[in-house]
Amino acid sequence: MINRLRARLSPSMWLGLVLLALVLVPGLFGQFFADPGQLRLMAGGISAPPSPDHPLGTQNEGRDLLTYILKGMPNTLLIGLVGGGSAVLLGTVLGMLAGYVGGPLDALVRNTVDIGLTIPPLAILIMIAASFPVVTPLIMGLVIALTSWMHPTRVIRSQVLSLREREFVLLLRLSGASPLHIVFRELLPNLIPFLAATFVNAVATALLASIGLEVLGLGSFQTPTLGNLIYFAIIGNAMWLGLWWWWLPPIVIFIVLFMGLFFVSTALDSLANPRLEQG
């Protein structure tokens, strides 16, 4: 497994990992170097361009933008991880059980997924975020997961459907292994590269949903996040006033982050389905 992995650290994987590191390293550790005092009203001049004191300038209330970004990135990443992680966790349990056990459980899961997939998640998320007053990053991640577990469930179920017809599963069944043992101890390890690809995609989906909500003004304004930063920049007419240091950095960070996730997921995909590569 490890050898195979090493052999397949493709250029796409490297590129993706480097891009991700560019965002994750400052995103996770930068917060410890940030001075919360810089987030106060009038910590610097109003809408001041980048200067040695404020490397990314300040916004229209004089708050330091670099500090805001460093404090906001962990929250944004948390939403993505919690959202993507819970969606994949839920999808794995449901997809594996439905795919392996079959019968009425499978019919129920399959139909729920089919209907759920035709309901645009943003429509449900808007109603939830508009109805519930306080949204912390953790809750936002969980809520996003509630609307995005269907896709992981569907793809994992179809993987299990093909896996369970293999000989080793038949052998296990004949030797009296319990279904739970077969599903989670024997089938699951076979799916790890596939689950990793699904996870990366789910994180991207969750981030996408959270930015969408925040750009609509449905984030929690007490918590700094990159999506809120974009919202405030739009509200503050940053682009029209020529305050590029306000609206551009969060967008650049997102683009690097999404590209990184994209390249890693493409690389993981070809790792999970070696046949794709010949296509």
């Binding site: 209907i115 997939l117 645009p120 998640p121 519930f132 750009v215 967008i251």
Partner: protein, 332 residues
Amino acid sequence: MNPRYLGRRLATFLLTIFVASTLNFAITRLTPQDPIAALLGRMASRGRTVESGGEIVARYRERLGLDAPLAQQYVNYLRDLLQGDLGYSLAFFPIKAEAVILRALPWTLGLLSLATLLAFVIGNLLGALAVWPRVPAGFRWLVYLSMPFSAIPYYLLALILVYLFALNWSLFPLGGSFTVGSDRGLNLETLADLLHHAALPVLSVVLAVVGFWALSMRGIMATVLGDDYLIYARARGLRSRRIFSHYAMRNAMLPQVTALAIDFGRLISGQVLVEIIFNYPGVGWVLYNALRAADFFVIQGVTLFMVFTVAVATLLLDLLYPLLDPRIRYQS
């Protein structure tokens, strides 16, 4: 068309709408407080006050009959929905929410169908040509170049496009759907003006989606290329262009049409956000303003509209599908 297929599809369609409407109802009732009070509170936390906030809450309670038993409220809600009654817009009282949404609808549908169609056609052609034998290598590179774009959310791309093309180079208008004050008649000038305003919003969606279609088309076409009927077509001496359009593309397109149906929800969500960036007077713009004004019924109406549009689009594509693929037509 097979009546059983039709029946099953219609049943799923109705069930989807029903489930989504019920979810919509349930979410607003699960909140510890009135949704409208939550919205007003959210605005207050931003330092905005709503004129006659108390009156709005009172009207809202009356309209929803919040003192009636939950089951009764649910029945009322479904009955109103069936009659197309979404309630009064609180910001534009006494205009109804459905009127506010209907007014914005043509803009959204126009933009959405134009962008979706363009992206679908360009993406599929690009992806197919990328693996077609003896096609200039440039196409292959176009596909690779379009791929990373598909990873970037539309609305972020839209912001950059506005900055470059509208603000910096003044090639396109900053926003809106037509030149204010222009007389809008049925002439070429009006059409050019509309297209000029639609160009950037459409471009940001197309740029972001082309890669998605190109990538999957490339994979499908690669498998179609090895199929026997293509070898036979070539052996019969058909021209390469004809084999491409009449034989390879026709078969490779089938899964893509299904994917279009699946992807529609993502498309419409992105569209809503793109409209905000471009001040485009569609449903997304209505939603944005409704959220800022705590206009509860309009918010609810727009989310229901999103669900409805996606369900209708999926239904239409599914009903078209048997016409494209005869194998589905004869299946029981």
